[in-house]
Subunit: 291 residues, 2 copies
């Protein structure tokens, strides 16, 4: 079995190539370059990895899995482009490159995010080698995960938290983070079950644990991380005086909690045997990563 | 047969009620009020009218037609909220009410548009009493009409035109407007054919003609219209020195061209007999409207 790091790199490379070819096919127009800038050349492709390896558990065809992975990466890229806008987090750097509104302008950045959201739904609607019923199920779940009951709500909760006098407690930030980042991780990790019409119960338990662990690790890296390595601004939350898992639990307890969550995630996959090994490995990676 | 104006009002009222009930069911959270503000209480509901009455031609069930109409109104509302942002058209007034970024802020307006786009796709994925294949077809077409090959591209072309030294010619503004507003009108007017798995050829010809007529009339109203009646800022294009159908053709020729287009649209529907009468009436309305 190849090392986990090379599996992670290989999966990221194949998704990168597929995204690049898909965008090439769209032809060239005014939106092409900002969209390519936002989607290509970066990121851990964690969501894509979850989609592809959850699909492997259920023998979903590779072509189908790759396109579902592209869809979630487009959806994620849309959220980053809008989140980086001056009216939101106001970030100039993303994946080591200037953000879209810095390289172009705010109008183009708004439109880039808008078009990438559309593209995510289009890619699912056009999934090859899968029934329309399965596509519709994925679309419903993606809408629920990303809309006003999911990611967008999480963003709004985050903005309100910054303005509010009252500090958030652990329940508040757990809810906020489950909406803001957890919902898309859940969608990604359960995609294989949905596409093959199997129960997503175990994968959902797995995803809830790694989603929370992922956020705790993000909070740890916000303190201990390296800006150059991360390719984005760090210590944002500390500077903003925001409550995080680290500020509420302390850094050692936060690390212990993240480890417990990863153990729980690994347990949740026991019924799937060897086929779920990449999903177990990525759970461990989530709390070992440095960016 | 009821007068056209009462048919238009009745259709708008039933869509308004359906939208209000649908948003009620979403429950209350931080995003509810901005979303309701953006979607409810306004507009001619022209796109909804086209969906519902194109569905009537093919005996699509009322419940299905109404939900497809709600979807296109959510998509349209998303585009208006983002278009009104300071980085885009910077408008403070929409449908006689303050725009979302004025009443809340830019971050909430960005998120409101984002969530409304998601909701549009979700509503189609959840259409009652229709096969998954038909839903997927509508979703593909909506993505094509609204994304980087459609509405978003039209917005980007519009922004570029404002910055460019070179004035647009008739072909340029026809292309820009077909992308920016025409594509969604085409989606709406063909929805009934797509939902019933019939050819959309005639309805597509109809939609192309009324889409262009609609934009010519918008340019005429930008000059001759009444701000209070319109509930939005007028003479934007004149002030910005933008090329429009009126500036290129002259106002009388523009009116003549719009009339021809409406005649062509009405001709395109001849095979559908009486059932298409509301679609013919709305074509005439498009160039007679004062707002």
């Amino acid at each position: 079995m190849p090392s986990f790091q090379s599996l992670l790199n290989d999966t990221a490379s194949s998704v990168e190539l597929a995204l690049s070819e898909m965008l090439e096919k769209q032809g060239d127009n005014l939106m092409s370059n900002p969209i390519r800038h936002a989607v290509l050349g970066g990121g851990k492709r964690l969501r894509a990895f979850l989609v592809i390896h959850s699909c492997n558990i259920f023998d979903v065809q590779k072509e189908t899995a790759t396109q579902a992975a592209m869809a979630i990466e487009c959806l994620h890229a849309y959220s980053l482009v809008h989140d980086d806008l001056p009216c939101m987090d106001d970030d100039a750097l993303r994946r080591g490159k200037p953000t879209v509104h810095v390289k172009w302008n705010e109008a183009i950045a708004t439109l880039t995010g808008d078009a990438l959201q559309t593209l995510a739904f289009e890619l699912i609607a056009c999934l090859p080698k899968v029934d329309a019923d399965r596509k519709i199920e994925l679309i419903k779940k993606l809408a629920k995960a990303s809309g006003m009951q999911g990611m967008v709500l999480g963003q709004a909760q985050d903005i309100q938290a910054e303005k509010s006098e009252r500090s958030l407690n652990l329940d508040d930030i757990s809810s906020l983070q489950r909406n803001k980042t957890g919902a898309l991780i859940e969608w990604s990790a359960t995609a294989g079950a949905v596409l093959s019409d199997n129960s997503d119960k175990e994968l959902l338990n797995y995803a809830r644990s790694i989603g929370l662990a992922f956020q705790i690790q993000d909070d740890i890296l916000d303190i201990e991380g390296d800006t150059i390595l991360a390719g984005k601004r760090l210590q944002k939350d500390v500077t903003a005086g925001k409550a995080t898992f680290v500020s509420l639990l302390g850094i050692e307890n936060a690390k212990t909690r993240a480890k417990q969550l990863v153990e729980e995630a690994i347990q949740a996959l026991s019924i799937y045997g060897d086929k779920a090994e990449p999903m177990r490995q990525v759970a461990k990676f989530i709390i070992e990563r440095k960016l």
